[in-house]
């Protein structure tokens, strides 16, 4: 393993890889956007109005607002995760697109940085779409403050893109990804304050939750929706950066072992 590990050499050569994915996406942009949006939007509006009408304020705000802020982060996480799991896996393993690119003067570092930045870009779109709904329904406290959600969403996409690439590197088939969803993504959705405040959880579970990347994402996004400055900004930003970067570095080593041996 140590043989395959070295720090990534980053360069602008990832851009043609990003561009490749963008050009393919552009061909099917409308159905792709609708598909990406419909699911989180239905949950948010359905639960937000349906359940929200039964509830008092949650976390000091109407339930729809609470849920909308959580959905921004959750939807971004899902978009990035799906992209680097299913789509990247297709390109790497099924279509052998990565092999073709590696015969050009490109390295795996370039290819995977291209995939990571693409996943972040695509998930940025998902996050911003939910943000647009928040604007449309007037669920925000301060419009200018909500603009900070845009870079937050990009960072969240980077974080989950990097983490997902690790799964991509070790997966023998598409079926394997179900483990990641069942064991990582779904528990995070329930433990990190998407649907209800983390403070409702037992203390021990709250301790776990504090370490999870989706918690950091939501701790940044929710105050920005409400119109207050988030606490511990540096901590959350660094946590998301570390999860994403570590994911990318580990994924790179594992993928080198997989493809370049």
């Amino acid at each position: 393993m140590s043989h395959f590990f070295h720090l990534p050499h980053l360069s602008g050569r990832f851009i043609p890889v990003w561009q490749r994915n963008y050009l393919v996406w552009k061909k099917l942009a409308i159905p792709s956007i609708l598909g990406n949006l419909a699911d989180p939007m239905l949950y948010m509006l359905g639960l937000g109005y349906g359940l929200g009408s039964l509830l008092p304020d949650v976390g000091g705000m109407p339930y729809l607002t609470f849920l909308a802020a959580g959905t921004v982060a959750y939807s971004t996480m899902n978009a990035a995760t799906f992209e680097v799991l299913y789509s990247s896996f297709s390109r790497m393993h099924v279509q052998r697109t990565w092999d073709a690119i590696l015969n050009a003067p490109m390295t795996l570092d370039d290819v995977m940085l291209g995939e990571l930045t693409w996943a972040a870009s695509k998930s940025l779109l998902s996050g911003v779409a939910i943000l647009a709904v928040i604007w449309g329904l007037g669920l925000y406290g301060n419009f200018w403050m909500t603009l900070w959600i845009v870079p937050v969403v990009a960072l969240v996409g980077f974080c989950f893109g990097g983490m997902g690439l690790v799964m991509n590197a070790v997966s023998p088939s598409y079926d394997f990804f179900l483990y990641y969803f069942t064991l990582v993504i779904t528990p995070m959705v329930l433990l990190c304050g998407v649907f209800f405040p983390v403070s409702q959880l037992p203390a021990a579970v709250q301790g776990v939750s504090a370490w999870l990347p989706l918690t950091h994402a939501i701790d940044l996004a929710r105050p920005l929706v409400v119109g207050t400055v988030p606490d511990n900004i540096a901590l959350h930003v660094i946590a998301l950066l570390v999860y994403g970067s570590l994911g990318y570095i580990v994924a790179l080593a594992l993928t080198r072992r997989r493809l370049l041996k």
Partner: protein, 301 residues
């Protein structure tokens, strides 16, 4: 153009490439032949700097690999064994996208596209999707894609495996045009006729080592008797026992057939007249005979 010295590659305890020496001159078409598992594909991946060797040195177009593999790959076009065209793009878009990986501007690639489509005989298919192409068309497009950056040297890994005879001949035509245009070509194959037809020189690889190297005709002359009489039919075993050792310079029985290698085939054929139950095939020896002599007849999986 390509200089390899003492190249080795180990996977665990197995040495897949064991002290390989190769020299390919500019403008030459060089063949790497070998049974499955001889180390052909591994060697190509080493030459491209995709995997790290355990020993030895590689100089590709004057550039040290793997140290400066990225620069070296600028000079190389690759046609891989398995088609990996981009199924999300049309024929033209495949060429455009591939050019970008070499850092070419859109205008520079676009200017080359008509010529490349023409070369591949795909001018009328420019906007077709990859799934609509036949196996031969995909191969030709892969070859055109490998030329997008006008490389000096081309690596082809079994370029005609899985193609029908018509499609193979089209690929050979294309390769001959490239050879005439002065490109250097390194190809792996296990089709002996392909190697005899295209290559100036070739190396036969077995167990990660070069077991013979030279021009196809010269290899046949040095390694094997000039003629082969293949004998088969009722009573072969008896006939073999009585005559083979006297009449053949070298012989082997494979299944139901006796391969009699000789420089005096007439004597063998005369003798066969007295055994009317036996049938025979007399032919000049070829590269396949050399290959089988050097690498054996055992099945490699």
């Amino acid at each position: 153009m390509l200089k390899v010295r003492g190249l080795t590659k180990k996977y665990g305890d197995t040495e897949v490439v064991r002290g390989l020496d190769l020299t390919v001159r500019r403008g030459e078409c060089f063949g790497l032949l070998g049974p499955n598992g001889a180390g052909k594909t591994t060697t190509l991946r080493l030459l491209l700097g995709l995997i790290e060797p355990d020993g030895g040195s590689i100089e590709l177009a004057g550039i040290a690999v793997p140290q400066r593999a990225r620069e070296a790959r600028m000079k190389v076009g690759v046609v891989p064994q398995m088609d990996n065209l981009d199924p999300d793009f049309s024929v033209r878009e495949n060429l455009l996208a591939y050019g970008r990986y070499f850092g070419m501007s859109k205008a520079a690639v676009a200017a080359r596209v008509p010529e490349l489509l023409d070369f591949a005989g795909l001018a009328s298919k420019a906007d077709a999707q990859i799934a609509q192409l036949s196996g031969g068309m995909k191969r030709r497009l892969t070859l055109a894609r490998a030329l997008v950056h006008d490389p000096d040297i081309l690596f082809l890994d079994e370029p005609t495996t899985g193609l029908d005879p018509q499609a193979r001949h089209l690929i050979w035509q294309g390769l001959r045009r490239l050879i005439n245009a002065g490109k250097t070509i390194v190809l792996t194959t296990h089709f002996m006729d392909e190697a005899e037809r295209l290559t100036d020189r070739l190396a036969i690889l077995d167990h990660g080592r070069v077991v013979a190297e030279g021009a196809p005709r010269a290899l046949i002359e040095t390694h094997i008797e000039p003629a082969v009489v293949e004998v088969f039919g009722e009573g072969l075993a008896d006939w073999t026992g009585q005559h083979a050792a006297n009449l053949c310079q070298r012989f082997e029985t494979v299944g139901e057939t006796l391969f009699c290698y000789t420089s005096t085939p007439d004597i063998v054929i005369d003798a066969l007249r007295h055994a009317p139950a036996l049938r025979y095939l007399h032919r000049p020896s070829n590269l396949e005979d050399v290959f089988l002599k050097l690498t054996g007849r055992d099945l490699r999986d």
